[in-house]
Structure formats: C-alpha cells, structure tokens
C-alpha cells in the first residue's frame, strides 16, 4: 500500500498518554495529520460516530475510516506507512515479545499510576509499592539496551514513554522519587526525550500536573 497523507485525522485529548503514543508514531513516520482535541464533558459527534463502542480517544481516522485503541493504531501506522523507521521488529518472535510488553504496559501502568496520584489515601503506600514494582519489571526488561527496541526506538518505547510525562505528577502527588527506584528507566526517559518525535508529542510535565490537580478537584479521590 502506498503512502497517503491526504486524510489523516487524530481525535485526541492532550493529557492522554494513549493519544501521545499515536502522535509519536505519526511523527516517527513523518505523516502529516490534523489533530482535533476532544472535550470529555462534551464529546464531539465525530468521536461518537467513529468510536461508538468505547467513545474514547485516541481515534485515528484515515481516509474516513476509524481505527481505535492506541497500540492497535500504532501497529496500523507501522503497516500502512511501512517505510523506515519500523516500529515493530521484523522477526516474528521479537514481534511477539514487543506485543507482550505493550500489552503488559497497557494492563499495568495507567491503572497503577492512577492509584498513586488519585487513589484512596489509606491505600497510598500499597499503591506506590505496586506502581514501583511494575516500573522495576519494565526496567529489568530494558536491561542494558538503549531502547526497549534494542539499538532503535520502537513499539515498546512508544507504548511506555508517554507515561513519563506523568512522572512529575506521580512523584509530587504520590510523594515518591521514581529515579531512586528505577534510575536506568529514568535514563531511558531522557534518551527518548532527545528524539524530536517524543519531545514534540509529550506535554510539559507541569501542565500534566496542573491538569491532574484540576481533575482531582472536580472528581475527588477514586
């Protein structure tokens, strides 16, 4: 399939780590797109039409056809715009491992992280422990490699790096130092931020923090 930048729209919500994944992937591939911000209190009719089941962002609309679920979208982008850089490795076993870790990140990082900054106060210590445990597992998987993808930035890096824009929020509201527990992972974060695709796609951590405070004020602890 040839390249086609003519009609690529991303429905997004700027603090969403899932939306950031898609932006990074599009940037990596040099695909130009229109980004439309959604308001969660008043979802657009386009979002409701394109993702009637979950009514959630991100949604990539390519030539009028919607693709939903962020890692699904990242794979789609890698397949359609299949020039370099490749996000997934070509070897089937390495691809399965990349998908496994993407899935692990999906199952654990957001939910454990949310309990750290917005969880019940009495469960705070346990929530922090669980969150750090998850980051340690990821740091172990990273090992001595510069990126999860090896020498090249890839799918797993794309899956995880957006959450790092939330690290300041986790640390401040959770009262913990992530670097103290997972210094190698923080090193990886800095390496990723040197990439234009990442630096352009992640909001400033202080903006995320302001958003988190407002969210907590509006919704209370969950």
């Amino acid at each position: 399939m040839g390249e086609d930048n003519s009609n690529v729209v991303l429905l997004d919500f700027w603090p969403s780590s899932y939306g950031m994944r898609v932006k990074i992937a599009l940037q990596e591939k040099g695909v130009s797109y229109e980004c439309r911000q959604e308001d969660f209190e008043a979802k657009s009719s386009l979002l409701l039409e394109m993702n009637p089941i979950h009514k959630m962002i991100p949604v990539l609309i390519h030539n009028g056809k919607p693709i939903c679920e962020s890692l699904n979208i990242v794979e789609y982008i890698d397949e359609v715009w299949n020039h370099k850089p490749s996000l997934l490795p070509s070897d089937p076993y390495k691809r399965s491992q990349a998908r496994f870790w993407g899935n692990y990140i999906d199952k654990n990082v957001y939910s454990r992280g949310k309990k750290v900054w917005n969880g019940k106060v009495e469960e705070k210590e346990e929530s922090k422990k669980q969150f750090i445990e998850c980051l340690k597992m990821l740091e172990e998987e990273l090992g001595e490699k510069p990126y999860f993808g090896g020498d090249e930035f890839g799918y797993v890096d794309v899956a995880l790096v957006p959450f790092t824009s939330w690290f300041y929020t986790y640390e401040t509201l959770g009262n913990l130092s992530i670097e103290a527990f997972v210094p190698k992972l923080v090193g990886w974060t800095k390496r990723c931020m040197e990439k234009q695709s990442v630096a352009k796609s992640l909001p400033h951590p202080h903006n995320i923090y302001d958003f988190a405070l407002k969210y907590r004020e509006a919704h209370g602890y969950e």
């Binding site: 679920e69 699904n72 789609y76 089937p92 597992m137």
Partner: protein, 222 residues
C-alpha cells in the same frame, strides 16, 4: 525439526483459540494439560518458567521459546506459518478492526464473565444484560456474512467461537437463551462447529457446566 508445544487447560477459551489456529494451519504440536490453573502451587514448573509474569495458559513454546497471551500467539502463528490460509486479513484496516473486536470481547468477558456463574441477584442480572448486549453488537458486526472473516473462517471467528462452549452454563445459571436473544449469532456458532478444527477442540458444554459447579463447590461460591 520444528518443536511446538502448547500448555493449556481444557476449559480455557484462550487455549482453545490457539488449538483451533494450529489445527487450521495443519501444524503438528504437543499438547500439555495443566493439572490445575487456579492455584500457583499446582501449576507445572514448565508453565511457571515459561510465563513467570502471569503464570497463565495458553503458552506456546516454539523451539524452546515461549510466547504468551492468546492474541499474540495467534499473530505469531500466522506470521511464522504462512503456508496455509492466513488468519489475519492482508489489509491493515481489517487487521486493526479484528484486533479491536477481540480486545472489546476479551474486556467484556473479563468484567462480566465470572459474574454470570459466580454471582447472584442483581449483579448476575446486570452481567447477563451486559453479555447479551455484547453478543448483539457482535451479531451486528457479523451482518449477513457467513463468518466474521467474510467468506472464510478467520481470526475473529477463531477468537470468538471458544466462549460458546460456556453458553449452556450461562443459560442454565442465568436463565436466558442465547438462541432467543441472538439467533443469527447461534447460526454462526453452528456453522463454525461444522469445521473439524472447532469440533475437535471445543469441549462438551455439559462437561463444562459440571466443571463450573465443581469450581463453585471448591471455592465455596453459592
């Protein structure tokens, strides 16, 4: 010499997906049944070693290398054994759509599946309504096609058919009829059961029901 081993448990619909895929592709494999999947102390060393993070079946071990998570295994099988009918569509958009539906379905069966047989009263009723709604959405997605894959039995069919061996259990415990609620879906179920890969893999629904009753007794669930 290829060595393909599948670690499984006879009631797991996720294991059934992999078995069906291997049979469809004509891949020879050795199946190893776990003694018990509920308590870690009863799990085989091979399982604990091959899937240390989740300690769950299915695990496919190909030439000594383990692959975990049923959808990831199906993608791996399709990428390695290209000789037979492809399970995934060649079109990235339809691939993304299939992944989306499987993810939607898996999330639904995780949230409401257990409540259908382990809960009572309003919780069970709510789970039943959610489950029926999910089947209706799938029925809508199927439309007039013989299979979710179109003319060919493919990935989405393989992913969805295993749960149907639990329908008798759900119907008995929740007092409803899938045939009445979703007749087209049941037509598709019967069509799939005519395929050898499916009829050889899915267990007897009555045996599944007996097993669920045993589990309820074992864990003292009323």
């Amino acid at each position: 010499m290829e060595e393909v081993v599948l670690l499984g448990f006879w009631t797991s619909p996720y294991v059934m997906r992999v078995k069906i895929a291997l049979l469809e592709k004509g891949i020879e494999f050795q199946y190893k049944e776990e003694r018990d999947v509920f308590e870690d102390k009863n799990k085989s060393e091979l399982l604990l070693e091959s899937n240390p993070i989740y300690k769950k079946v299915p695990v496919l071990i190909h030439n000594g290398k383990p692959i975990c998570e049923s959808l990831i295994i199906l993608e791996y099988i399709d990428e390695v054994w290209k000789q037979e009918q492809q399970l995934f569509s060649a079109d990235p958009y339809y691939r993304a759509k299939a992944r989306f539906w499987i993810d939607f379905f898996d999330k639904k069966t995780t949230t409401c599946g257990k409540k259908l047989w382990a809960n009572k009263g309003e919780d069970q009723d709510a789970a039943k309504r959610e489950f029926v709604e999910c089947l209706k959405l799938l029925e809508n997605e199927l439309g007039e096609k013989p299979y979710f894959g179109g003319d060919h039995f493919a990935l989405l069919d393989i992913a969805l058919i295993p749960i149907t061996c639990r329908f008798y259990t759900y119907e008995k415990l929740c007092k409803f009829s899938v045939e009445e609620e979703c007749p087209k879906f049941m037509e598709w179920v019967r069509r799939c059961n005519m395929r050898e890969s499916v009829s050889k893999t899915l267990p007897d629904p009555f045996k599944v029901f007996d097993f669920v009753l045993e589990v309820k007794k074992r864990f003292q669930i009323q």
